[in-house]
């Protein structure tokens, strides 16, 4: 299990990356994170959605509603141009962190 602090730190780049080039919705995002982390990062519904709304407030993502057959409408999120920029910044920072940690933590 990955620690909560670390998981929280990865949340923003993860979500932005998942949304890169491909709009998605909350359930799918959580499922994707679960898959990628092989179950080691588990976001609760009640945390992820407010987080998405926060990104939306910051203008990094935008949402739109999509009709769904036989169920209520579904809210999709996609990256905005500034979201793409933010993703680029995140990527650079993670690469720097990675480059820094890799030799140190190499076995």
């Amino acid at each position: 299990m990955i620690s909560r602090t670390l998981a929280t730190a990865t949340l923003k780049p993860m979500v932005l990356a998942i949304l890169d080039g491909q709009p998605s919705y909350g359930y799918r995002i959580i499922a994707r994170i679960r898959d990628l982390s092989e179950g080691r990062i588990e976001w609760t519904t009640g945390t992820l959605y407010p987080f998405l709304h926060g990104l939306e407030n910051e203008g990094l993502v935008e949402s739109f509603w999509q009709a769904v057959e036989n169920a209520p409408r579904r809210k999709y999120y996609r990256l905005t141009p500034s979201g793409e920029k933010a993703l680029e910044t995140e990527r650079q920072q993670w690469q720097q962190v990675n480059a820094m940690l890799a030799p140190l933590l190499a076995v």
Partner: protein, 867 residues
């Protein structure tokens, strides 16, 4: 958590979709849906954290959506959250909202108007400062099942002297009850029917504020009188200058010693001119006979009517033994507040109206309950989600109550507007002059608020119980729940609505048929083309013979007869006896009425034996006390044990030795009282005791003839006041109360039908929508529109017919009771009931069909794509 304002409605949709996805994928993976659901709830996370997370992004979201201002305002509004939610839900289904608000508004308007009416009725006589201490003394008559409001002259002074419980007492003699008087001021003359005499103590007992003069001295001296303000205006142009002026009332000079404010409309005592009781000859003597006076007592503070009643016993016993009063002689007491409502029989009307208002409002509430529960499937998702998010049942109930309260408030505003708009019409129907301001009195406002709460509760409680009771797991899993009990309850309510409607339709029909019956039934006398002119003064009385000769040459005048009162009001009670009856036999109670010798011809009465009255040498002179002429009716013939033939020539009297006479003719019974009463034994006798003049016209050029008569009247009477009416109008006026009842029933049933149909439209459109898929499938399989409409209408029709079946016995019982108040009444034919049931069914059918046809004609492709 659904109650948290930080979670916006859109967020709820998003979260719901999430839970659905979660459950669906877990079910796919082989879990039970129950387990999947519980898992989804765990996934939701810790309540406190979730709330905190949402709160952090809340204001940013509002800023983004430009909602900060609105939200801030709502922050300060009471029940802000419920109001937002409710408004949003109401706006989402405008048709549904319209049906509810319109129905409730009409119901509330109805209620407000009737509330005003009731308020006006119960406010009668309450304006007197000592209203709660005033009682009226009544006379108990053994033969009649009611008390008479008139008492002997001695009662007021004797009671005041004898009983410490009586602080003051007043005698009140209503001259206008018997005849109009002529008032002359200078050269002008008025005919007044509001002339009364009263003791000077009247102003100690009652509260009639003075504009000029003083209550202590106003009515002390003989030949003094007090005018109401508007009467003083009529006579003198203003209230102040009237004081000290002289007016002549039927030839007697009076001095104006006071001017009071006009008597309020809600007073059972109504008068324009009040003269001192000392002006009358009755004031000279206190006696137990001749009961013609109202007696009102002002009880001492702390004394009750019960105390006085006990105290009265001994005095009455003494009076009976010492004064030789009959053993049945007895007096009763009525509190002032009961006089109008109970004694004058208004309570029944008030109760009836209140019941109608309550029923209409109930029908409107039923609409709300029905539509709200019918829509419950639509809203079950919302409820489910709120529950998943941690909302308690109580919170959800409060939300639905909020919605119904909001809807009722909107309806109240609309209904109040409607009531203001309808008030003039209602005043017309109820013959009142109510102003809407009365509703703004604190007590009425309180009642109105109470009404609001009551209606909100009545319409909100069932839907909120049902809706908040949904189990989220089953709701979200299946998407819809319809509980059988829910539907059955709705059906019972529809049955109830239509039962009430059918009762009202039957009531309207029966009341109108009875009115029709009264109008067309043969009452035994001619009332067409008969002009009625009041004989108000001596001048008019003396000119009768001259008037007769002057009009004899007019071909448009068929005949003319003077009499005490018109048919329908011939109430005079007399004691019938014949010389053959022994001394110990009591005289038999019969009705009798003084007329002139022309009455039988002018009224067109049927002579069965003998002949009409012989013309006396002087028609204004009293006959010799042994030479009276009687024309008696069949009932009296039977009572006396005669046959019509043998009756002619018999000696008889209606008041001992004063009116001995001979029967000259026998007439067929005619309705000398209104049709509520059976025809009693009656005698007509010639005596110049005239209050009205009846002139029968040929019927062509009525207006021209009347102006001819008026000209002759002015010439012969030398300017007696001229007034006239038609006998058939007077006759119709006896049934004013019934006419009003008929109109009110008509309006009420119309409203009830309207509101019930509104509800049906809502239910029908809902059912049709629910069955869209089914209809699509049936159409694909070749069903015709006609059979589909039939299918959709079937259930509704059944409910309405069930309502009719429930209603008919109730309607029969109620209307039978009402009709029993008439001695002459129409039949309760079966077709009235069948017709009422059928018309309710047809109206309902037509209402529902519109929706059904719409649903049935939808392209099946569209229908099947639905959802």
């Amino acid at each position: 958590m659904g109650r948290r304002k930080e979670i916006l409605p859109d967020d709820l949709d998003e979260l719901e979709q999430h839970v659905r996805d979660e459950v669906a994928s877990m079910v796919d993976a082989g879990y039970t849906s129950e387990h999947a659901f519980r898992q989804a709830m765990v996934q939701m996370g810790d309540y406190g954290e979730v709330e905190e997370a949402y709160r952090r992004v809340y204001w940013g979201k509002l800023r983004r959506q430009g909602l900060v201002g609105t939200t801030l305002i709502l922050e300060f509004a009471m029940l802000k959250n419920y109001v937002t939610l409710a408004l949003r839900n109401l706006a989402r289904y405008p048709g549904y909202t319209f049906i509810n608000v319109a129905g409730l508004a009409v119901g509330i308007a109805c209620c407000l108007l009737i509330l005003l009416f009731v308020q006006d009725e119960v406010s009668y006589d309450r304006f007197h400062e000592h209203a709660d201490r005033i009682v009226r003394v009544t006379l108990r008559v053994p033969d009649m099942d009611r008390e008479l409001e008139v008492t002997p002259t001695i009662v007021a002074p004797l009671f005041k002297r004898t009983f410490p419980e009586v602080e003051d007492a007043v005698r009140y003699y209503d001259v206008g009850r018997f005849r109009a008087v002529t008032v002359r001021v200078g050269d002008e003359a008025w005919q007044e029917s509001g002339f009364v005499h009263a003791d000077s103590t009247v102003f100690n007992v009652f509260t009639f504020p003075f504009i000029a003069g003083s209550p202590e001295s106003a009515l002390v001296r003989p030949q003094t009188l007090v005018l109401t303000e508007s009467t003083a205006m009529r006579y003198f142009g203003d209230g102040q200058s009237a004081l000290g002026r002289s007016v002549s009332v039927s030839g007697t000079e009076y001095e104006v010693t006071g001017v009071i404010e006009d008597v309020p409309a809600n007073s059972h005592l109504q008068f324009d001119i009040m003269a001192s009781f000392t002006s009358t000859h009755w004031s000279q003597r206190e006696q137990w006979g001749s009961a013609n006076f109202y007696t009102y007592l002002l009880l001492a503070p702390g004394a009750t009517a019960i105390d006085l009643r006990t105290a009265m016993k001994g005095l009455l016993d003494r009076a009976r033994s010492e004064m030789g009063l009959p053993p049945e002689f007895d007096l009763g007491l009525q509190s002032l507040s009961d006089i109008y409502l109970v004694f004058m029989g208004r309570q029944r009307f008030v109760n009836l109206l209140s019941a109608i208002a309550a029923l209409i409002l109930l029908i409107a509430c039923v609409n709300y309950v029905n539509l709200a529960t019918a829509r419950s499937t639509r809203r079950s998702r919302e409820v489910g989600m709120r529950k998943v998010l941690g909302a308690y049942r109580g919170q959800i109930m409060r939300q639905f109550f909020g919605e119904s309260a909001l809807m009722v408030s909107m309806s109240l505003i609309l209904g109040a507007g409607l009531a203001v708009f309808l008030l003039p019409f209602f005043n017309d129907v109820s013959q009142k002059s109510m102003a809407f301001g009365a509703l703004l009195e604190p007590r009425m406002l309180l009642i109105t608020v109470g009404l609001l709460v009551l209606v909100s509760l009545a319409s909100g409680i069932y839907p909120s119980l049902v809706l908040s009771g949904f189990r989220p797991a089953s709701v979200l899993k299946g998407g819809r729940t319809t509980t059988g009990g829910n539907r059955r309850f709705r059906e019972i309510l529809v049955v109830f609505q239509f039962a009430v409607t059918v009762v009202l339709i039957v009531a309207t029909t029966v009341v109108f048929r009875q009115l029709q019956f009264i109008q067309t039934t043969d009452v035994g006398f001619d009332r067409e083309h008969v002009v009625v002119i009041p004989i108000a003064d001596r001048a008019a009385f003396r000119s009768i013979p001259l008037l007769r000769t002057s009009l004899a040459s007019n071909p448009a005048v068929v005949g003319m007869s003077a009499m005490t009162s018109i048919p329908g009001e011939m109430r005079g009670g007399y004691g019938f006896s014949t010389p053959g009856m022994s001394e110990s036999d009591d005289a038999l109670h019969i009705a009798a009425s003084p007329v002139d010798a022309h009455a039988v011809d002018v009224l067109g009465l049927d002579l069965l034996a003998g002949e009409s009255f012989r013309l006396p040498p002087d028609e204004l002179a009293r006959p010799d006390s042994a030479n009276y002429q009687y024309v008696i009716n069949e009932s009296l013939v039977k009572l006396a044990g005669w046959t019509p033939e043998s009756a002619v020539g018999q000696r008889m009297t209606v008041s001992g030795p004063n009116r001995m006479g001979t029967v000259v003719g026998v007439i067929r019974d005619f309705n000398f009282l209104d049709l509520k009463q059976d025809i009693q034994p009656q005698a007509l006798f010639v005596e110049p005791e005239f209050n009205v003049l009846l002139i029968k016209l040929a019927g062509n050029d009525t207006a021209g003839t009347i102006s001819d008569i008026q000209r002759v009247w002015r010439e012969t009477t030398g300017g007696s006041p001229w007034e006239y009416s038609f006998l058939d109008d007077e006759y119709r006026a006896f049934y004013d109360a019934e006419q009003r009842l008929g109109r009110i029933f008509g309006a009420a049933s119309l409203l009830a039908i309207l509101i019930a149909c509104l509800g049906l439209v809502g239910l029908a459109s809902f059912t049709a929508e629910q069955r869209t898929k089914e209809i699509g499938v049936r159409k694909v399989m070749g069903a015709e529109v006609r059979s589909l409409v039939f299918l959709l209408n079937q259930n509704m029709t059944k409910l309405v017919l069930a309502g009719a079946v429930v209603a008919l016995p109730v309607a029969w019982y109620v209307m039978d009771a009402w009709l029993s108040g008439f001695a002459y009444r129409t039949e309760l034919s079966w077709w009235i009931f069948a017709g009422a049931g059928l018309s309710a069914a047809v109206i309902a059918w037509a209402t529902v069909s519109y929706q059904s046809v719409r649903a049935a004609t939808v392209d099946p492709v569209v229908a099947l794509r639905y959802e």
